[in-house]
Amino acid sequence: MISRAHHLQDDRLFECYLAGLDGTAVDRLAAAHLAECPACAAHLRELVAFMDGLRAEADAETDAIFTPERLRIQQQQILHRLEHLGHAARVLSFPARLMGRRMARTASRIAPRWAVAAAAAGLFVGVGVGTLIDAARREAPPAAIAPIPMVVPPALAPMIVSPALTVSDPLPAADDDAFLSDLEMALSGPRNRELMPFDALTPRVQAVSSQLP
């Protein structure tokens, strides 16, 4: 028997709290003391209230985050994951159209042996022919490189510096005035209307030559 002068220690009170939680029997001596000692009974009530408060806080906090809707969604997600349990991971082909082409190309890359032999023969022939051509070039006397004919009007020929070549047989001589008048006629045609403003700004040969001293 625990006398009222010796109150229950905290650990004994906690055992009483746990016993109440588990639904098991409280220690007989402690129960008798609690029945007689209001101070210890008050301490036990205080302890129970404190622990219940902690629990209620945690429950409220968790319930606020995990609402019934979220619980339902989570259940669905779990069942969805279970349905795919044990299945091999699906590889997404991306992009599908290109992957199809790539696969076809990969299949066509498997070349038969004759293709390899033909490629080797082609390489051999190419190297042989190249060697022969090179040898023939070395044996041949160096030939004068024909100059590229360059058409230069005779009037401009004196202005061109060497190594320009003058054409030995120039184009038929044409009268400058006739050429320019032909040009003016062409410019005045209906297809060159867009160029007319530029034409208006361009001085005429005849006008310029008349003004010359």
């Binding site: 905290d10 650990d11 906690f14 055992e15 746990l18 939680l21 588990d22 639904g23 098991t24 301490h43 205080e46 302890l47 404190f50 622990m51 902690l54 629990r55 806080e57 945690a58 429950d59 409220a60 906090e61 968790t62 319930d63 606020a64 985050i65 995990f66 609402t67 979220r70 619980l71 989570q74 259940q75 997600q77 779990i78 069942l79 994951r81 279970l82 349905e83 349990l85 044990g86």
Partner: protein, 228 residues
């Protein structure tokens, strides 16, 4: 404050010892709890190749343990998305390994052990990640908002603020507990586990579990302003 490490099973429990460890508040000694019986049935269905039926039955287990599992996971991880994923992973793992389940242990003990090991792994991974990356505060903001307003929407703003402050103080106090004290306290208080079940989950002696629980409660009372 150190992590308690993975929860261990005691080595090969004998049948009488197991019968003695069954929780009185859930089932009588020697009688299987409902969830344990359901787990055994699911295991047999899987072994017979009836996967679809097993999945349907498993949804009952999910519904029975989901809320408690989320409460435990959230208290460990303090992040809604993390807790959500941890609980999903635990259920998937349980179903994938249901063939190895033995009714010698209550299903709740087995499941909670898997869940807590997953939570501890996630905490370690988060610690490693946080060394290199800035923690995503904005992602936790949504949880904070729900914590502050979702659960106490009927309260006035002052009461909501006070409730939030109380929760923050409680979080801080719980995380200042020693690793084993915290584990035991969380399992008993948030996980609805008896000291016997916690003993089965952690491999600690039942009296040791009671001592840890008592010390945790005393420390919390001291930290939270109650009588130590």
């Amino acid at each position: 404050m150190s992590d308690p490490g993975p929860v261990r099973y005691p080595a090969s429990p004998s049948a009488p010892a197991v019968a003695a460890q069954l929780p009185e508040r859930r089932s009588a000694p020697g009688k299987l709890a409902d969830d344990t019986r359901l787990a055994v049935e699911i295991r047999e269905l899987v072994e017979r190749g009836h996967a679809n039926e097993a999945r349907e039955r498993f949804s009952g287990l999910v519904a029975a343990h989901q809320r408690r599992a989320l409460r435990v996971a959230y208290q460990y991880l303090r992040d809604g998305a993390d807790a959500d994923e941890a609980v999903q992973d635990a259920f998937v793992k349980v179903f994938a390994h249901i063939g190895s389940y033995r009714e010698a242990w209550p299903f709740e003990v087995w499941f909670t052990r898997i869940l807590i090991n997953g939570c501890l792994d996630r905490r370690k991974a988060r610690l490693r990640r946080d060394r290199w990356f800035v923690p995503a505060e904005e992602a936790r903001g949504a949880d904070e908002a729900r914590r502050a307003f979702g659960g106490a929407s009927d309260l006035d703003p002052e009461a909501r603020l006070l409730a939030r402050e109380r929760r923050d103080r409680l979080d801080d106090a719980v995380h200042r507990l020693d690793g084993r004290q915290r584990t035991v306290f969380m399992l008993c208080h948030y996980g609805d586990c008896t000291p016997r079940e916690v003993s089965a989950m952690t491999g600690l002696n039942e009296s040791t579990v009671r001592v840890h629980l008592f010390r945790a409660a005393r420390k919390l009372r001291g930290l939270l302003g109650g009588k130590p």
